[in-house]
């Protein structure tokens, strides 16, 4: 996944009503690992403020609140316009397709609706870039 996909999500989230409701009052750094690259999405009071990237082993990739990791192929499956069975949602992908999560699980589960929406926005961004 390109950096531009994550950058696009920052813009998409700013105008997304579902994200705004689901992420309300959330302060977090959501780290999404794609192969060996960590994408850090900073959320302040429910607003997705920026995206940075760093090698997963780099100190710049920490600290984070919640980390979700998978291979590039796994993310491509998750973000397909119509995903294959059990890639339709992050929780299913964690259960059946080897996605892993770490960090503050209370925060992760309390804000799962926001994370789920973020995945949908990534899917939309990926789809737009693929069509361009």
């Amino acid at each position: 996944m390109a950096d531009s996909t994550f950058d696009a999500v920052v813009t998409l989230a700013a105008d997304d009503g579902e994200w705004r409701i689901a992420a309300r009052m959330w302060n977090a750094v959501l780290r999404l690992d794609v192969d060996q690259v960590a994408h850090l999405l900073r959320i302040e009071n429910g607003k997705l403020v920026n995206h940075t990237a760093a090698p997963a082993s780099d100190p710049a990739a920490t600290p984070y609140t919640v980390r979700v990791a998978a291979t590039g192929d796994g993310w491509r499956e998750l973000l397909a316009p119509v995903p294959r069975p059990f890639y339709q949602d992050l929780y299913g992908a964690m259960t059946r397709h080897g996605f892993t999560a770490g960090g503050d699980f209370e925060s992760f589960f309390a804000y799962y609706p926001a994370v789920r929406r973020l995945v949908e926005l990534l899917r939309a961004a990926q789809s737009r870039q693929g069509a361009a």
Binding site: Y91, G92, P113, R116
Partner: protein, 280 residues
């Protein structure tokens, strides 16, 4: 002129283990009785589309009920239920449709349920085959371990979490309005019920040692599982069917864990042939 749904709701008092339970149910149609059981932590609203099916109304008396502690079936007055954590057992769950059948004078009803309701279909077939003319298990399996976890009833995690995970258990091709409605119903369950129901789903239901004792000459068993159900998978549904001589199995392409509520039109394509066969 006001427009009414065909389904009408009322309450019936059921005595289970010497406790009076005031149970809400909705019904529509006339003919072969058909009991409809909801999924864990939800209620009978999941069946609202099937209840409105005019073709089925001509042939089936459809009864969708809310388990005690779910939907409009409030906890019993005679128990201090607030002093112990809610937990659904196989024994209690089986007694509800049996008591309801008796109270409503249903003659060997067809039973259909999804998820915990699907598991219940095969448990009823094993333990009470004489009481049902057929059972239909949606999203049923031999067992589904691992689900009974504290995250489903956590003081700092709201019902939105459950609703959101359930949203992801549905097919991405199901109409969004119905996926949202299904999740909405989930968000309204009393906080302890989903985890408590998963005690049955993941612990108390286990047919690994007994599935092959189910006798389909006494009660036909129909099993169907949604393609996108990552909790009780099509593979698990097929595995269950392989263990029950005479059971039929079909994967419902383009459906997930909540076939009856996430895409009622597509579900109808799968369930109508089954109900037609039972009605013949």
């Amino acid at each position: 002129m006001p427009r009414f749904d065909a389904a009408a709701g009322r309450y019936v008092h059921l005595e289970v283990d010497s406790i009076d339970y005031r149970v809400y149910f909705e019904e529509a149609g006339a003919g072969i009785p058909l009991l409809l059981q909801h999924t864990a932590g939800a209620d009978g609203r999941q069946w609202r589309h099937l209840l409105e099916d005019a073709d089925l109304q001509r042939r089936f008396r459809m009864v969708a009920y809310d388990l005690p502690y779910h939907g409009k079936s409030v906890p019993p007055e005679s128990l201090e239920w607030w002093k112990q954590e809610y937990r659904l057992t196989r024994d209690f769950l089986m007694k509800v449709p049996l008591a309801l059948s008796e109270a409503l004078n249903l003659d060997r009803p067809v039973y259909m349920g999804s998820s915990i309701g699907g598991h219940l279909a095969v448990d009823l077939a094993l333990y009470h085959p004489e009481r049902f003319r057929a059972v239909i298990g949606l999203e049923a399996a031999l067992s589904t371990p691992g689900g009974y976890a504290d995250i489903w009833y956590h003081p700092r995690i709201s019902n939105d979490f459950k609703a959101s995970v359930m949203y992801g258990l549905m097919s991405p091709t199901s109409p969004e309005r119905y996926r949202r409605e299904t999740a909405w119903v989930y968000s309204q369950g009393a906080p302890p019920t989903f985890k408590g129901d998963l005690y049955y789903y993941s612990v108390d239901h286990d047919l690994n040692a007994t599935a092959d004792q189910i006798d389909t000459s006494k009660v036909p068993v129909y099993l169907l599982t949604g393609e996108y159900d990552w909790s009780s998978t099509p593979e698990a549904g097929q595995e269950l069917a392989n263990r029950i001589a005479g059971a039929t199995y079909r994967t419902m392409v383009g459906l997930g864990h909540f076939p009856m509520s996430e895409d009622p039109a597509r579900f109808r394509e799968y369930i109508l042939p089954v109900l037609d066969e039972i009605a013949r």
